[in-house]
């Protein structure tokens, strides 16, 4: 044991030399490195780290991709059919993993605004464009803004239930083609059911309600918006999104001349790298006079899609696919429709608890920025470290294609966790849901130590006796 302690001491001396003379830095002498200290191991007997559960029937994610997200009606996808948004990501999860498409048991697509049956048919058509055979079924799911995450959770649940071994959870939204609108008349009962009436509140009003009731100031909201843009711009500039974005070849129709031009979209076009609080402060509140919610500190209306390929861990190992992430838990909870933005504050603790973890165990968060007011509220309420949340920007900068958001968060979260290494073990995705709900899911970083990962795959085991085969 003495040897181990000595070795540890020698290594620690490399990181924190005991000599007190200051270092000479070439160019940057103003910032000194933060003092490092050896601390007692934080992993106690009950800590998550001791529970390394790697079971063959875990549901794992082997691929997660998304399209770029573009502004609705004016951005890159304004002349793109919705099924042409979904097909590239469905194709990508299959092509990049070399999985046979006919082995996919089901595809579940979260999608919100379009007429239900039509969108479901469009999704089926998209699967054909992506090269899936007719034997692979497809369905849609709608839990408003969480539909993409709900789709992934539904596929995970079905795999757990044994309905199939391989499934795709996806999200799709073309807010260019389907505006937020109410068809037909409203049931007069809402006059006596206040909660039902509150379901009809415009989302912006719920944002004002949250800002007002919980004291989130205009400055805090604008600051959150600036950070979102800065982080998203930095991530795009450093090429981080290249791992998860699938370029989409499509067309753009000039609104004036009507000329069609082929174009390939490969970056998110909603990000404003030069956003500053002073510019945002000049914007007028949109939803309420003397309010604080503006176009600058709300999520953008966008088009986009995402897809996630899930399967049992045993199947992934058998196919030799690297594991990007492990699906752990999902929770959907209901909250007051008038302040629907508090959804994540209720859903995240539920999902984290269901995973047997504490909030401190979570290393990375993707909390949808539907509005800066509710995002800031949830962050403060749960006392989360801002350095762990939306590290590559959020919906204010990237956009919020309603049904696609959950699936695109899976791609962004898992790819970022992979980049951060073993230190980043658990991640959470959460969003608030219009009509008063919140959803959250816990993911674990992939690539658990598989002792056999360098082993040669045995095609046929002829060493067993005939009875054993």
């Amino acid at each position: 044991m003495e040897k181990a302690i000595n070795r540890q001491r020698v290594l620690l001396e490399h990181l924190r030399p005991s000599s007190s003379s200051s270092f000479v830095y070439g160019s940057d002498s103003s910032s000194s490195s933060p003092p490092i200290s050896a601390s007692a191991c934080a992993a106690g007997d009950s800590a998550a780290y001791h529970r390394t559960s790697v079971f063959g029937d875990d549901v794992v994610i082997v691929a997660a991709y998304r399209t770029p997200i573009c502004k609705a009606k004016r951005g890159g996808f304004k002349d793109t059919y919705a099924d042409d948004l979904l097909a590239p990501v469905l194709k990508a999860v299959i092509e990049k993993t070399n999985v046979n498409p006919s082995e996919v048991g089901d595809i579940v697509v979260g999608t919100v605004l379009a007429p239900g049956s039509q969108r479901a048919t469009e999704c089926r058509m998209a699967a054909f464009y992506a090269g899936f055979p007719e034997t692979v079924p497809i369905r849609t799911v709608n839990r408003q803004c969480s539909s993409g995450l709900q789709a992934v959770a539904d596929v995970a649940a079905a795999i757990r239930a044994g309905f199939y071994d391989i499934g795709i959870g996806a999200g799709l939204e073309s807010m260019t083609s389907s505006p937020l609108a109410w068809e037909g008349s409203v049931n007069p009962k809402v006059k006596i059911f206040e909660q039902a009436q509150n379901c009809l509140l415009p989302m912006g009003i719920t944002s004002e309600n949250v800002a007002h009731r919980f004291g989130v100031t205009r400055q805090e909201q604008d600051q959150a918006a600036v950070e979102s843009h800065q982080r998203a711009a930095a991530a795009t500039a450093s090429g981080k999104f290249k791992d998860e974005i699938i370029p989409v070849p499509t067309k753009i129709v000039d609104p004036i001349t009507g000329d069609e031009k082929p174009i390939t979209i490969s970056i998110d076009d909603g990000i404003r790298p030069n956003a500053r609080s002073s510019d945002l402060a000049k914007l007028k509140p949109v939803f309420k006079k003397d309010g604080s919610t503006t176009a600058g500190n709300s999520s953008q209306v966008s088009d986009g899609a995402g897809a996630v390929l899930l399967m049992k861990r045993s199947i992934a190992v058998q196919k030799g696919l690297p594991i990007l992430g492990v699906f752990r838990t999902f929770a959907a909870v209901g909250v007051d429709p008038a302040i629907m933005g508090v959804g994540p504050a209720a859903a995240i603790p539920a999902a984290v608890k269901a995973a047997g973890l504490e909030l401190d165990d979570i290393d990375l968060f993707e909390i949808n920025e539907a509005f800066a007011s509710q995002f800031v509220y949830c962050r403060n309420k749960l006392e989360l470290d801002p350095e762990k949340i939306n590290v590559n920007g959020g919906a204010i900068a990237l956009g919020h294609p309603l049904g696609a958001t959950g699936a695109r968060c899976v791609a962004t979260l898992l790819h970022e966790m992979k980049r951060r290494g073993k230190d980043c073990r658990f991640g959470v995705i959460s969003m608030c849901i219009g009509s008063g709900m919140g959803a959250a899911a816990v993911f674990e970083r992939g690539d658990a130590v598989d002792d056999l990962c360098n082993a040669r795959v045995v095609q046929s085991n002829s060493l067993l006796s005939k009875d054993a085969q």
Partner: protein
């Protein structure tokens, strides 16, 4: 280029001087603090899309901190083990006959081993017991022991031109140059204010050495004018663990650091750092440049991954 995942944490990687696609990786369990060790011999695949081929692997009772290929026989290599021994392996023999020798004289961990590229018959090992020992393959005991440093000797590297000259880097903050024919060290350079973790000779200028230190800098020295360095290369965020001069370019060197990056430098230009690779997600502790393939770099780290890539390309690109 593919990536190889070792079961234990990586400590050192060395290209074979005989085969351009072969490399040896020294690994240790539990970050080298406690546990076993393993040496892996890998072959680079002919196409980037296929995985590494593991030719052989040898288990040891304690972590392996360094490995060195023999310059005389293409199948021999020496492993520096943390229990103080040096193990010699022969790839042409079956695994049951390996290791063919175990040389146990150091009283503390052996941090580095280097094979003489000129004489090709001897090698030196440096240890935390403050000594450096000179060995040949045929003798069961060391030929000489060099005991002058006051703290762990982290590296001992032969001069690529002069058969009897080698340099050593120590935690006592000095770089010493030795001549095997002399009784003691021929030169002591107070190179840094903090521990020196690695050193390497310039392959084209036999008086130029680079040292890598806990003070986060790499300094390049001409030992004829050893009072001031030729260049001070800053850029790493934490202690620099290893430095290696290019066998193909007189001013090019690579370094790896506890800040998890591998940096490439040209010490003769103003803005010295010409490349930075952040592919490791834990301490990057081993780096090597191939003698046979120009620009080919290998690195390993505590994240259990071995990357091999061409300078200028992305190590993580498929």
């Amino acid at each position: 280029m593919p990536v190889f995942k070792t079961p234990f944490n990586g400590y050192s990687v060395k290209f074979s001087p005989f085969y351009e696609s072969r490399l040896a990786v020294a690994t240790a369990q539990n970050f080298g603090i406690l546990g076993n060790g393993r040496v892996h011999i890998l072959d680079l695949p002919p196409t980037p899309s296929s995985p590494f081929v593991e030719l052989a692997s040898f288990e040891t009772a304690d972590g392996v901190y360094d490995v060195a290929w023999s310059e005389s026989h293409d199948s021999l290599l020496v492993a520096a083990v943390a229990d103080g021994s040096l193990k010699i392996y022969d790839l042409s023999l079956p695994p049951t006959s390996n290791p063919i020798r175990s040389l146990h004289e150091h009283s503390r961990e052996v941090q580095s081993v280097d094979y003489n590229p000129v004489r090709r018959d001897s090698f030196i090992s440096s240890s935390w017991d403050d000594s450096i020992k000179l060995w040949t393959l045929d003798r069961p005991t060391s030929i000489r022991s060099f005991q002058e440093h006051a703290y762990c000797v982290y590296a001992a590297v032969w001069n690529p031109r002069h058969a009897d000259v080698f340099a050593s880097a120590s935690g006592d903050c000095t770089l010493r140059v030795w001549d095997v024919r002399e009784p003691g060290s021929t030169m002591v350079v107070a190179a840094h204010e903090f521990e020196i973790l690695s050193c390497d000779w310039n392959k084209y200028d036999d008086c130029v050495i680079a040292t890598a230190s806990v003070d986060k800098s790499v300094r390049v020295w001409d030992i004829r004018t050893y009072r001031t360095p030729l260049a001070v290369l800053n850029g790493h965020g934490y202690a620099v663990r290893k430095v290696k001069f290019s066998p193909h370019n007189r001013s090019f060197l690579v370094s790896c650091s506890y800040d998890m990056t591998v940096c490439a430098w040209d010490y003769m230009v103003e803005d010295a750092r010409i490349g930075q690779y952040g592919h490791h997600t834990e301490f990057a502790v081993g780096v090597d440049m191939s003698v046979l393939v120009e620009g080919l770099i290998a690195s390993t780290g505590w994240d259990e991954l071995v990357y091999v890539w061409q300078y200028g390309t992305d190590p993580r690109a498929p």
